[in-house]
């Protein structure tokens, strides 16, 4: 693999990793607060639809982004009502939200646009355009750094940089602020937060809503950044991969970054090197396809070991029975 190919693979990894990263961080906020969320997929999908639809209608990517966030937050609110207010089963709620999103997006898209569950293709103003960082051209002649800067670091859409910035930001919020302290506490032992005079319910709703915002950004990025519109089921399981990355990352922001980049890299490699020949044996494309998943299992079995979730995770906070 020559250097340029490497750069391109990495570039592709970044693009594939960003929706994962945003969803993963979204899940991190929610699960750190003790609300498990297997509905990341559905929220991303709903956001992708809303972003695609509103960007198409308004012609503005920003309206699309806001709509995407809004749609995702509505689903978050449902999850919150079910699992916080009514202490329902968080897994069931997540399953329901995924299905709701899968169905409603197509239903509404069909009703509005009549294009079979797609939104109209977006024109340039409806899409996130790549940002060329300063000096990209100037540095180009510098060996190694130049091309790396131009190909890999520069030329992504704004959301990519925002997503990366969210990693240290999340770390800082979690470990350096009052809100973060309470958030982590409520995921470990909600009674401790309650008896300390802080509302468990408000904290958890806040976390779930932040999760909604981030999923919304992830979905909007899919529909308006990576693509030019929504088509049905376009998240294609990325929410579940993000969930895997979250567990892989043991619910920590920096680890989440590495986990998502790793998943992105594995996917990029599978895209780039379909059916390689090793020693005369052609590896079937199906194996290359499955490789990211197989490697995930191997890594999980070999290196990561036991991932301990937030202790109060998945359990509704019940004081009186």
């Amino acid at each position: 693999m020559d250097f340029l190919t490497l750069l391109q693979v990495l570039d592709s990894s970044v693009r594939l990793a960003i929706p994962l990263l945003l969803a993963c961080l979204a899940g991190l906020y929610s699960e750190r607060a003790g609300i498990f969320d297997i509905g990341l997929e559905g929220k991303m999908l709903a956001a992708a639809f809303a972003a695609g639809a509103f960007a198409a209608v308004s012609g503005s990517v920003w309206v699309g982004l806001l709509a995407g966030i809004g749609a995702s937050m509505i689903l978050s609110a449902i999850h919150g009502i079910a699992s916080i207010t009514f202490r329902g089963n968080q897994l069931i709620s997540g399953v329901a939200i995924n299905m709701l999103a899968a169905g409603m997006t197509v239903l509404i898209a069909q009703d509005w646009f009549g294009q079979g569950g797609r939104t109209p293709s977006l024109l340039t103003e409806g899409r996130m355009s790549p940002i060329t960082l300063p000096f990209a051209e100037m540095f180009q002649s510098i060996p190694l750094f130049g091309p790396t800067y131009k190909e890999l670091i520069s030329g992504h859409s704004l959301i990519v940089y925002v997503a990366f910035a969210f990693v240290p930001l999340t770390w800082w919020v979690l470990y350096r602020t009052r809100f973060g302290l309470r958030l982590r506490a409520v995921g470990e032992n909600p009674a401790s937060v309650d008896t300390a005079g802080v509302s468990v319910i408000r904290l958890r709703y806040t976390a779930v809503m932040i999760c909604g915002v981030l999923c919304g950004v992830a979905g909007a990025y899919l529909a308006t950044g990576l693509q030019a519109g929504f088509i049905k089921d376009m998240t294609a399981g990325r929410g579940f991969i993000a969930l895997a990355a979250l567990i892989f990352a043991k619910w920590r922001p920096w680890y989440a970054l590495w986990a998502c980049l790793l998943f992105g890299l594995l996917q990029a490699l599978a895209v780039r090197f379909q059916s390689i020949e090793i020693g005369g044996v052609v590896i079937p494309v199906q194996l290359m396809e499955a490789l990211p998943f197989i490697l995930t299992v191997v890594i999980l079995a070999g290196f990561v070991g036991r991932a301990i979730p937030p202790r109060a995770g998945g359990e509704p906070y019940v004081k009186e029975r």
Partner: protein
């Protein structure tokens, strides 16, 4: 101790939740400019008023019973098996191999052979995640999700490269020999010349799924192993104290779970398509999660929930046949049913509990 009479808890609460789901579904149908009454009538007519409709409903029900039971058994050991989809897929490979390469003289033997193969293959597919969870602590939720994807690839490879007869376009195996044909409800129950159940895919596997319900009920509540599984599920530390090996129970529970999920393919692969096709599972593995949760992990509950989802699947097909309503409407209705009967169940239960409590107080006073 109960705050509510049993009938209220088991029937009234789910019923009200279902009504709520129906109400919101009706709103959605109105929203896309169709008539909810008409849609509902179509669904009921198509799914419950014709024998063939029942034949389809029960066919889907059979699938959901197997996957629901699979999820439930694992759940009793506090293991969340999201891998039912993959296990069922690989179970189908077992069914196909057994039916294609063993010359069965009669269907009654074939169904036994196919069930064993399906169970073994499904269990084998669940084994690795189980073992990794037990020994290495690899989170079973991720590993089973990963194994779903891997199963898809394995199946794709087998169907495209290995099992597909040359010249056939379809990524599917050859059809199974005539002798393995399972009697369907039409053949079993329709009097000579009658059209009862004609064309419907429900077949003798339905009774196998009922047997599986009984099996799971006995296993979980009547045997030592079930006692072990439940103990371990409730408290790992207590299980250790009692001398119950966590590794053993994790692996065994997942093997049983995988076997049950795998056995769904007896219904789809041997009972319906009579050859191995790519998407025979059709998400039943995931619906199984909802079925198990809604059925409170109890075989009777699972049977009821599976019937409900079977009805929705068949009723939805009828809608798609006679109206312009996009098929996704059914997905939405299913989602609403899961949401209201599963996740928002307390929304109905809590006020009812209060109501019964005050009623009880008044009676006592």
């Amino acid at each position: 101790m109960g705050k509510m009479p049993l009938w209220a808890d088991a029937i009234l609460v789910p019923l009200i939740s279902l009504l709520l789901a129906a109400f919101f579904s009706a709103l959605v149908i109105l929203g896309i400019g169709e008539s909810p009454v008409e849609a509902f009538t179509l669904m009921v007519d198509g799914a419950l008023k014709r024998s063939a409709g029942w034949g389809y409903t029960l066919y889907y029900t059979t699938n959901f019973i197997f996957t629901g039971l699979a999820v439930a058994v694992a759940f009793h050991a506090r293991l969340f098996n999201i891998g039912g989809e993959g296990q069922a897929m690989i179970g189908g490979v077992g069914v196909a191999l057994v039916c294609l390469y063993i010359p069965w003289p009669h269907w009654s033997l074939a169904i036994v052979g196919a069930s064993i193969a399906a169970a073994l293959f499904g269990a084998a597919w669940a084994f690795i995640p189980a073992y990794l969870q037990a020994k290495r602590g690899s989170h079973i939720v991720i590993t089973t999700i990963m194994f779903n994807y891997i199963a898809f690839s394995v199946l794709g490879y087998l169907l495209v490269e290995v099992l597909r007869p040359t010249g056939q376009m379809d990524p599917a195996s050859a059809s199974f020999p005539e002798a393995t044909h399972l009697p369907n409800f039409h053949e079993m129950f329709a009097p000579e010349g009658s059209r009862m159940f004609r064309g419907a895919p429900a077949n003798v596997t339905f009774f196998l799924s009922l047997l599986a319900c009984v099996f799971v009920w006995v296993l979980i509540w009547k045997t030592r192993l079930g006692y072990d599984i439940r103990s371990f599920g409730f408290s790992e530390t207590a299980a250790k104290y009692a001398g119950i090996s966590p590794v053993r129970i994790t692996v065994i529970a997942m093997l049983i779970s995988g076997a049950l999920a795998g056995m769904m393919s007896v219904n789809t692969t041997l009972g319906e398509s009579e050859r191995l096709i790519l998407n025979s599972t059709e998400g039943a593995g995931f619906v199984g999660i909802a079925v198990a949760l809604m059925g409170r992990n109890h075989p009777i509950g699972i049977l009821m929930a599976a019937l409900l989802f079977g009805f929705l699947a068949q009723g939805g097909a009828e809608l798609a046949l006679w109206t312009d309503i996009p098929r996704e409407l059914i997905v939405v209705i299913q989602a609403l049913v899961i949401l209201f009967t599963g996740a928002l169940d307390n929304m109905v239960r809590m006020p009812l509990e209060k109501l019964f409590l005050t009623l009880g107080r008044k009676e006592n006073a």
